[in-house]
């Protein structure tokens, strides 16, 4: 499927922010605008997925359940590093059999490693990065990150940068993606955040309410 969907993430000071667009679409049809593409994998890990609609949920849940098993075996949750490589291994095993057409960003927080972000694409290329994006939107987002990202940003600063990216997509990306969800992973775990982007509809799925912000 063409990469119209967009997910991006960045590592800040003690946290990792993941943002995903909230649309579910197929060819010219828009099914829904409140799709949550960011799956909590673990207490301190989250995974944003895009790609083939069935594969995405299947793969995310596969990783979720396998990691729960790993945690039971060891007694303590696995490190984000181990999780990322494990995910890659599953992707790579299936690549030359029945590939998962899933692009994902894995965000984690670990007491020893700190916050981390891993980029994994459907060809099982894994890379640990400070910021990353998937989809056509990446063309716009990565340029903005190159220009404005600094290591150790605070959460408000990161949110401001995320809003800048979303605003740019609204302005320049041909496909309209008005709704986004955002989650943060830090020492307290995985939780939703409100990006408070003016002119962009933020979907708060926990309360199943829309947070409509002032339109420009």
């Amino acid at each position: 499927p063409p990469p119209m969907e967009c997910i991006f993430g960045l590592v800040g000071d003690g946290f990792t922010l993941l943002v995903a667009d909230a649309s579910a679409r197929r060819s010219v049809f828009l099914y829904k605008q409140d799709e949550d593409k960011i799956f909590p994998i673990d207490e301190h890990k989250a995974m944003a997925v895009t790609g083939e609609p069935g594969d995405t949920t299947l793969f995310a849940e596969l990783i979720q359940k396998n990691l729960a098993l790993c945690t039971l075996r060891v007694g303590v949750p696995r490190s984000p590093h181990a999780t990322a490589h494990f995910t890659r291994a599953i992707m790579a095993e299936n690549l030359r059999r029945s590939p998962y057409f899933v692009n994902l960003l894995l965000a984690g927080h670990d007491k020893d490693e700190g916050p981390s972000l891993y980029y994994l694409d459907y060809l099982a290329s894994l890379q640990k990065l400070n910021f990353a994006a998937h989809g056509y939107g990446a063309f716009f987002i990565l340029s903005l990150f190159d220009r404005y990202y600094r290591p150790g940003m605070s959460l408000p600063e990161a949110i401001k940068l995320a809003n800048l990216c979303i605003a740019q997509l609204r302005l320049r990306f041909v496909i309209s993606t008005p709704a986004f969800t955002a989650k943060v992973v830090d020492t307290d775990g995985v939780r939703m955040v409100d990006l408070k982007n003016e002119g962009v509809r933020m979907v708060d799925l926990k309360n199943e309410e829309e947070m409509v912000v002032v339109e420009e």
Binding site: G75, H81, F86, D112
Partner: protein, 249 residues
């Protein structure tokens, strides 16, 4: 003549041919016989300290004609962070050691991090257990001490027996005279021991469990798992170091 005693023995004899039959008293005789076998083997001691794990065993000099092996017959490194000591049939142990080493590397291939110690213990115990449940095979006649370090649980010491059961230990002793060894450990082991004190205690316990009154440094094999700047390191004490510890102990 103790008639009840005799009945016990003859009853057991009927049910001890296979691992797959319980006796009327609810015992699995083959496994118990295997455990008895380990109890007659060379004494081995394991001690967990706050800065490392120590495994010690008697090195049997079975014959003067025996070629001194460059590698140990008792202590095996499974990976950089786990070392096992095997008591029992060396041939049985070798198969399991090979399996453990392979499991360690396979884990690294998938997770890009070292195999957690308890997971290795469970893998080997599951293998040992298999041979206690399915017919025609005898139990694996090996007990292992596992000394390891991982980022999840730190330094750990485990011991497994031919039944496939395992436990985590602070200090333990198996092999001949293990009762004496265990009582000494109970009296003298302290949880806040450091590596030095632990090594001294290991040798002290080994001396007690051995039959000789005059222990010689070359009779002992001591292996220690420590952290060297955060990286696990397995080291064997050489004869001189063992001699120094023996004098202090």
């Amino acid at each position: 003549q103790n008639q009840i005693g005799q009945a016990d023995i003859s009853m057991s004899r009927k049910y001890d041919r296979r691992t797959t039959t319980f006796t009327p008293e609810g015992r699995l005789m083959q496994i118990e016989y295997a455990l008895e076998f380990i109890n007659k083997r060379v004494p081995t001691v394991g001690i967990l300290t706050k800065d490392g794990v120590i495994l010690g065993a008697q090195k049997q000099q079975k014959s003067k004609l025996l070629e001194v092996e460059k590698h140990s017959e008792k202590m095996y490194a499974i990976d950089d962070h786990i070392v096992l000591s095997a008591s029992g049939f060396t041939s049985d142990a070798n198969i399991l050691i090979d399996y453990a080493r392979k499991a360690g590397q396979e884990h690294y291939l998938t997770f890009k991090e070292p195999l957690p110690v308890e997971q290795l213990v469970q893998l080997l115990c599951d293998r040992k257990h298999y041979y206690t449940q399915f017919g025609s095979s005898r139990p694996i006649g090996v007990s292992f001490f596992y000394a390891g370090y991982d980022r999840y649980l730190g330094f750990q010491l485990y011991c497994s027996d031919p039944s496939g059961n395992y436990s985590g230990w602070k200090a333990h002793c198996i092999g001949s005279n293990n009762v004496n060894g265990k009582s000494m450990l109970k009296d003298e082991y302290k949880e806040d021991m450091n590596l030095e004190e632990g090594t001294k205690l290991t040798l002290k316990v080994l001396c007690k469990t051995l039959d000789t009154t005059n222990p010689k440094a070359e009779e002992f094999e001591i292996v220690r798992l420590t952290l060297d700047e955060g990286i696990p390191k397995i080291s064997t004490l050489d004869e001189k170091e063992v001699k120094d510890y023996l004098e202090k102990a």
